[in-house]
Amino acid sequence: MARVPALCLHDCRIFSFSPHPQTKEDKPMTKKLLGLALLAACATTVQAADLKDLKIAIDPTYEPFTYKTADGKPTGFDVDIAEAICAEMKRKCVFVEQVWDSMIPGLQARKYDMIVSSMSMTDERRKVVDFSDRYYKTPSAIVVKKGTAYDAPASLKGKKIGVLKGSTQEKWAMGELKPAGVTVVPYEAQDQVYLDINAGRLDGTVADKVEVHGGFLRKPEGKDYGYVGHDQYETKYYGDGIGIPVRKGQKELLGQINAAIKTIRSNGTYDQIAKKYFDFDPYGN
């Protein structure tokens, strides 16, 4: 089975193939067919912005905030909050899965209308999207093997730390750990970081404390690992909490989302959802 020829390397003679002028009947026929085909193709894809369905992007590799059960259903804190917000706005939630580092570009490309996937509200991101009010705030921390001595980033010199590509934790690690001599390796998804920690390729990670607890520490493979260092709240890297981004200029949608967040905070829905996953209030102060 020879590979497909990449480019013609031998005699690329192009035979002139038109024997005599086209008869009049053929031209308009092919033009009509082409026009019909184009129209059919457009009709199937172009649609006016549907007012009923709300497309929400999630990265389902972030237990317990967004993850999938074995039968493929998206679930988690973010997913439930999104469902509650949709219920308040009286629209149907449609979840779209997206790789983390192309979340915002996907939003700009109108693949979805908002992102409810634990996205931190940083100044850098505010330049390209508009954020809603905060819906939770939890710190991040370094996680390495229990018993590793740590008093400053330099203690981890020479070790390999995995982070999620495009995340605020990656920015923190690049800004604080990399100059101290730590090797920072960006991964496509957080659960692939855990795969490699499990395999022994990584010595640890920098992640959201609640996420790493739910996705790694409480599982059998994470029993030898623990937090080191302080809880990371630096606004320089982490902004001021987790919010819901929408495209710039969508004031009406943003207003609806903020109103919905206020409502579920005050009528107890938020606490109900939080109790399902945590034993503390993730809203923060």
Binding site: V4, A6, F17, T45, Q47, G72, V99, A109, R110, N198
Partner: protein, 228 residues
């Protein structure tokens, strides 16, 4: 655990759907490209040559990412600039099929072009002598004979296409590879799920080879085979 296998099998159905749809699109683009290249009209030839050269010189992954992320933004900006309110909703299936069809259309163009050039010119000359127009000649004389010459290259392209559909997992389409990756990351057992997906690909390849061998036999009826 078994539900992960089931999800991979569902992904397999999607893989087959994407492959067949891309094959259809690429065959049509290939026929268009080959006829454009052989038409002798300079702008058409130039356009088709540009298409095949550029598309076959860029990795499929880069082209797929370019089309999926870049084209969507570009087209939507165009719509906005024209003042329209429409949102071109490229669902990943259509994006994946369009990209793969576009890429393999270039390879099919070369296959079909080589096949058409292999048909003895006397066949077409006889058709013109009978007064058949270009379209009729193409549909009744050229196309059926071209199939036999194109089959080895077509088989090749199809086998490469099946495996290239694994790339659509990188634009978040839930095909076999995507489901296998998710299952392996969630259960921390990549080996078994990836081997399962690999075995399914082998099954598809074997079935395809079998089917195409029979089609080849059918289309080679009446031709002399070389005796070694």
């Amino acid at each position: 655990m078994s539900s992960y296998y089931y999800s991979i099998l569902q992904g397999a159905l999607l893989t087959v759907a994407v492959s067949l749809a891309s094959l259809f699109v690429s065959t049509i683009l290939g026929l268009l490209g080959a006829t454009a290249k052989l038409s002798g009209r300079r702008p058409l030839v130039w356009l088709a040559t540009l298409y095949t050269t550029v598309v076959r010189g860029i990795p499929e992954l880069v082209l797929m990412l370019l089309v999926f992320y870049g084209a969507a933004i570009g087209i939507n900006n165009l719509f906005e600039a024209m003042g329209s309110d429409y949102v071109l909703d490229l669902n990943p299936f259509i994006a994946g099929v369009a990209t793969l069809g576009f890429i393999y259309g270039a390879y099919m163009t070369e296959t079909f072009r080589g096949a058409i050039l292999s048909i003895p010119k006397g066949q077409m000359e006889a058709a013109w002598a009978f007064g058949m127009g270009p379209v009729r000649t193409f549909l009744r004389i050229t196309l059926p004979q071209m199939v036999r010459y194109a089959l080895p290259g077509y088989t090749n392209n199809w086998l490469v296409l099946i495996k290239a559909t694994a790339l659509v997992s990188l634009i978040s389409l839930h095909d076999m590879t995507y489901m296998a990756k998710q299952a392996s990351a969630a259960t921390r057992e990549p080996f078994i799920f990836l081997m399962f997906a690999a075995a399914l690909y082998l099954v598809f390849t074997s079935i395809s080879l079998n089917v195409l061998k029979r089609i080849n036999a059918r289309y080679s009826l009446g031709t002399e085979k070389v005796q070694l």
